[in-house]
């Protein structure tokens, strides 16, 4: 017992501090002579080190002549400061010829002890993942969807056979995810959340592809090309203070991690369309654009932009849009810049701006910047601006036209739910305030103007959901609204159907634009959890309500079509010939379904006939006995027909009462 106590006490013994983790080695420095060495030291400390904390020790070794040797050592007061500095200045360039190469002093020992003989790394065994896109080759081009149900404890992937969804083999798993299901953008992977991190599943049997460690991961993001996965966890520790980690999906390796310094909306890092760049805003200060696969800053430095507020990538080109807040002497601006050239291709000055929001058209054809403008601005007691009389302007950048002209639309009402029509040139929004009645307004971007094409009044709508192929749209009142669904064909702005899914919390189109699914999620409402599947025109096709406590319904995305616009146009032209073939196939498949039933029934029938045959054999064997017992053959109803006696029965058809008042006198 005393020994144990001793152990506790010993643990508290002050340890000699091994000052390793707060020390950094900076190499790649220029070699300077003794005259300039002090200037170099000051320069390094000023530019790179002082801003990260207190440098308690700094030393730049020299040779016997007083020339620097190209590296320096520094110690920070805390390990954290050293780590911050390392992340920030690694790879920073001093000048054209010199780039800082920084590493931890503790690493130095490790590197120094490394074998002189280079041993080739062990070849990792090749793991055949199979065909990760097998689901796209399904006979009838059915899509898959995932459902998280039974209060989140069971997840099932289904084939969407309309009216009769079939669970995919071995894709119903208990506790598959600890919070939600997340499909990768092209549908290749299914990501599941766990306390330890993220797991990716794929292939025909949804086998585990890879695991990514990030304790208590809360939210994730994929690059659009699916090559990279970004994870965020609020659980940071001293040893691992980076809340955001970036992984390479194929290898599972963590490529880079970041501190999460300021409150921001997820995703903090926004990806360019091909995954070549990712960027974030340092609010008010700079744009940080990183490139892959090096995961370092483009041109090794941030793009300093004073008062920058937010950025957003074009979904189809390497163009970065960002906006700058207005200051006392400068108006607000929206700037479009190409990457990696950093060439400005469009700029718009905006006056009296309170706030901006950027909405890209899904095919990158337009950028709409929603600008909240004010008529008067006051300053509060603590110098925060207060805006009075806000109205909204929409600045539409025509990306495909020469010099990117910008057009303006003004809206005086309050605005929400701005959405672009995919593959089209319309946009829609909800205008007005709930108490006075909301309207849904549709605009069309024409060659020379932007036209307001339709106003739908008195619509209790809080979500505008476009079909991913355009033309059809659903105006929905989700959650607190009554679950009303209005299906509109925007080619003629006619309402094709009005439906209601009371209490619906989510709405999602399938990737082909054929189906819309509304779900009442158990996460929001505890009763009537079900998903309803509608056609694009609003016909209710079927309800997924046999699963208990559905939490989430998620269609599996598809990679974009390989067909060119030209080819698509041709197919639409020849729709009739294709229709005939598909109708024939549909007919065959419906009879195929009952074929199984027919086979089952045929089996039952033969079994029954066999059973009956045995019984009939016994029956026939007893015939003699029966004849003896009754004296006649009564096996069939007409077996003793010769004994039948014909009988005529008379039934009165009509009974009539006639009153006889006087009896005739009878002569005596």
């Amino acid at each position: 017992a005393r020994l144990e106590l001793l152990g506790d006490i010993l643990a508290e013994k002050p340890q000699e501090k091994k000052a390793i983790n707060n020390a950094l080695v900076l190499s790649g420095l220029p070699i300077v002579d003794s005259a300039r060495i002090e200037r170099l030291q000051v320069f390094i400390r000023d530019k790179f080190l002082d801003k990260h904390g207190e440098v308690v020790k700094f030393s730049m070794p020299t040779d016997e002549n007083g020339n620097s040797l190209g590296f320096a050592l520094c110690c920070f007061q805390t390990d954290q400061q050293a780590l911050d500095a390392l992340t920030d200045i690694q790879g920073a360039s001093l000048d054209k010829m010199h780039t800082l190469n920084v590493f931890k002093f503790s690493d130095f020992n490790r590197l120094a002890d490394a074998d002189d003989e280079w041993k080739p790394p062990e070849k990792a065994p090749f793991v055949d993942r199979g065909d990760l896109r097998s689901w796209l080759r399904e006979d009838r081009c059915h899509d898959q969807f995932g459902v998280l149900h039974t209060a989140g404890s069971v997840a099932t992937i289904y084939w969407h056979w309309p009216g009769d969804p079939q669970p995919v083999d071995s894709a119903t798993r208990n506790n598959w995810t600890e919070s939600r299901l997340h499909w990768s953008p092209l549908g290749t992977y299914l990501a599941t959340y766990h306390t330890k991190g993220i797991a990716l599943w794929g292939g025909e049997k949804f086998e585990q592809i890879n695991r990514f460690q990030h304790k208590n991961v809360q939210i994730i993001d994929f690059s659009p090309c699916e090559r990279y996965l970004v994870t965020f966890s609020p659980s940071v520790t001293k040893e691992d203070p980076h809340a955001i980690k970036m992984f390479e999906v194929d290898t599972g390796k963590m490529k880079r991690s970041f501190l999460h310094e300021q409150a921001a909306k997820w995703p903090v890092f926004k990806w360019s369309h091909k995954g070549e760049f990712f960027a974030r805003v340092q609010t008010g200060k700079a744009l940080q654009v990183f490139e892959t696969p090096s995961f370092s800053l483009l041109d090794k430095k941030s793009i300093s932009v004073q008062d920058v507020q937010d950025l957003s990538w074009s979904p189809t080109d390497n163009i970065l849009a960002y906006w700058i807040a207005e200051t006392d002497n400068q108006p607000a601006r929206v700037i479009l810049m190409t990457m990696p050239e950093k060439r400005e291709v469009a700029t718009k000055m905006l006056f009296n701006v309170a706030d901006c929001r950027m909405h890209w058209h899904p095919q990158g054809n337009y950028l709409c910047v929603r600008v909240n403008r004010y008529t008067k601005k006051k300053l509060d007691a603590d110098n925060t601006p207060k805006y009075i009389n806000i109205y909204t302007n929409f600045e539409v950048f025509r990306m495909r036209e020469k010099n990117i002209p910008v057009e303006k639309i003004e809206v005086t009402d309050a605005v929400s739910c701005f959405t672009w029509e995919p593959h089209g040139s319309k946009f829609a929004m909800v205008q007005g305030i709930a108490s006075k009645g909301l309207s849904v307004v549709f605009y069309q971007v024409n060659a020379h103007d932007i036209e307001k094409v339709k106003v739908l009044e008195k619509r209790n709508v809080n979500t505008i959901s476009w079909s991913p192929i355009g033309q059809h749209v659903v105006l929905a009142g989700l959650r607190s609204a009554n679950g009303g669904l209005e299906f509109i064909d925007t080619s003629d702005m006619k309402t094709t159907a009005n439906q209601e899914h009371f209490g619906a919390t989510d709405i999602e189109w399938d990737p082909t634009g054929r189906y819309v699914v509304t779900t009442v999620s158990f996460w929001h409402v505890k009763v009537d959890n079900a998903s309803h599947v509608y056609s694009s025109h609003g016909t209710l096709l079927y309800k997924l309500n046999k699963l208990e406590r559905i939490c989430q319904f998620a269609w599996r995305p598809r990679p974009p079509t390989l067909l060119s616009d030209e080819q698509i146009k041709n197919i639409k032209k020849n729709m009739k010939t294709y229709s005939r073939r598909f109708e024939k196939e549909d007919l065959q498949s419906s009879t195929r379904a009952s074929k199984e039933l027919l086979e089952k029934r045929a089996r039952l029938k033969t079994e029954y006939e066999k059973w009956r045959a045995k019984l009939l054999e016994k029956f026939r064997g007893e015939k003699q006995k029966r004849l003896e017992l009754r004296g006649v053959d009564t096996d069939e109803l007409d077996s003793n027909a010769q004994d039948f006696v014909e009988e005529t029965l008379e039934f009165p058809i009509k009974v009539e009462r006639i009153r006889i008042d006087k009896l005739p006198q009878v002569a005596e």
Binding site: R601, F619, K625, R626, L629, T634, L637, F651
Partner: protein
């Protein structure tokens, strides 16, 4: 099954119907109820031939001999009576110790079997009488049923044994003359309310409180098919013409609601014998259906209900053409 011709309603009883039976030729219908007067009707048009007067209590069971000459009834007045069909005269009456629950003529028509309820000191008993003897006072033989009382009984093939259904769901073959239980099977979880033989006696259907009816062979009591419903099944019959089984049932007392509808909500259910799938329902009764039966030629069916009504249906052409794919 969309349309069935409007049924003929036989309104002859003031109280709930307990059994409906046809004679072998199918031209007469025998109905008994919780009132003391069973009736005989012409199946052709529903006209009453007459009533059998003599009992003093509810009549639980009725059977007609194969030659249609004699009728047998069993009553809660602790007696069973033999009647002349044509005249309605009671030719024989035997007293029992307790209510007569089931009765039936044997294949030859020379013996009658009765089963009595278990009450007050008297065990459930099976009694066999030789009805050629006149006056028949004493049973030719009898057998006590010690455990679960018999709720339904029929003669087996060639009348070698009785097939009995019990309150606990048991199904037995009883050789009364040898005083022996040949075999017992437990296919049902609840009381067996009715047993009806198929026309050739090789198999029968049981109707049970456990919401199912089952098709079973007479020789080995082997279960072959099960027809599932949501309510206790009071009676079932097998069509002599088509692979169909007819079920009539009840509703738990607490579910009964008053309905002002002209046509009642309680329905007779039709199942496919082999596929065990329900394919039709016929509404009409205002209360649970207590007894069902196909006409011997399979061209119609009769149902008797708790509401005191007996409804005689004829199938239209669709019924005979109707096929499962």
């Amino acid at each position: 099954l969309n349309q069935i011709m409007k049924p003929i309603c036989l309104l002859g009883h003031m109280r709930s119907i307990t059994q409906v039976r046809f004679n072998r030729d199918g031209d007469l219908i025998f109905t008994c109820a919780k009132d003391p007067h069973p009736s005989i009707w012409f199946a052709l048009n529903g006209e009453r031939l007459g009533s059998l007067v003599g009992h003093n209590g509810a009549v639980w069971c009725v059977d007609c001999r194969w030659d249609s000459e004699k009728v047998l009834t069993g009553s809660a007045d602790n007696s069973a009576k033999l009647w002349d069909t044509e005249t309605g005269k009671c030719v024989l009456s035997v007293d029992t110790n307790s209510a007569v629950r089931s009765c039936g003529f044997d294949f030859a028509g020379t013996s009658a079997m009765l089963t009595t309820d278990k009450t007050m000191g008297y065990k459930c008993t099976i009694l066999l009488y030789d009805i050629r003897q006149d006056p028949a006072g004493q049973p030719a033989c009898q057998m006590l049923v010690p455990e679960s009382k018999i709720t339904s009984a029929v003669w087996g093939p060639l009348s070698r044994f009785l097939i009995t259904g019990h309150e606990n769901g048991d199904l037995c073959q009883m050789d009364v003359r040898a005083q022996k239980v040949i075999r017992t099977e437990k296919h049902h979880k609840g009381a067996i309310n009715d047993i009806r033989m198929y026309k050739d006696g090789t198999m029968f259907v049981t109707a049970s409180k456990d919401h199912t009816a089952r098709l079973i062979d007479s020789y080995e009591l082997q279960l072959f098919k099960t027809y599932k419903t949501e309510r206790p099944v009071n009676s079932a019959d097998i069509s002599p013409l088509r692979p169909h089984v007819l079920l009539g049932g009840g509703q738990e007392a607490q579910d009964v609601t008053t309905s002002g509808a002209h046509v009642g909500k309680f329905d007779a259910k039709f199942f496919h014998t082999v596929y065990e799938e329900e394919f039709a329902r016929v509404k009409g009764h205002f209360g649970p259906i207590n007894s069902v039966g196909f006409t011997p030629d399979g061209r119609g069916f009769v149902t008797g209900g708790e509401d005191g009504f007996v409804r005689l249906h004829s199938f239209d052409n669709d019924y005979f053409d109707f096929e499962f794919e």
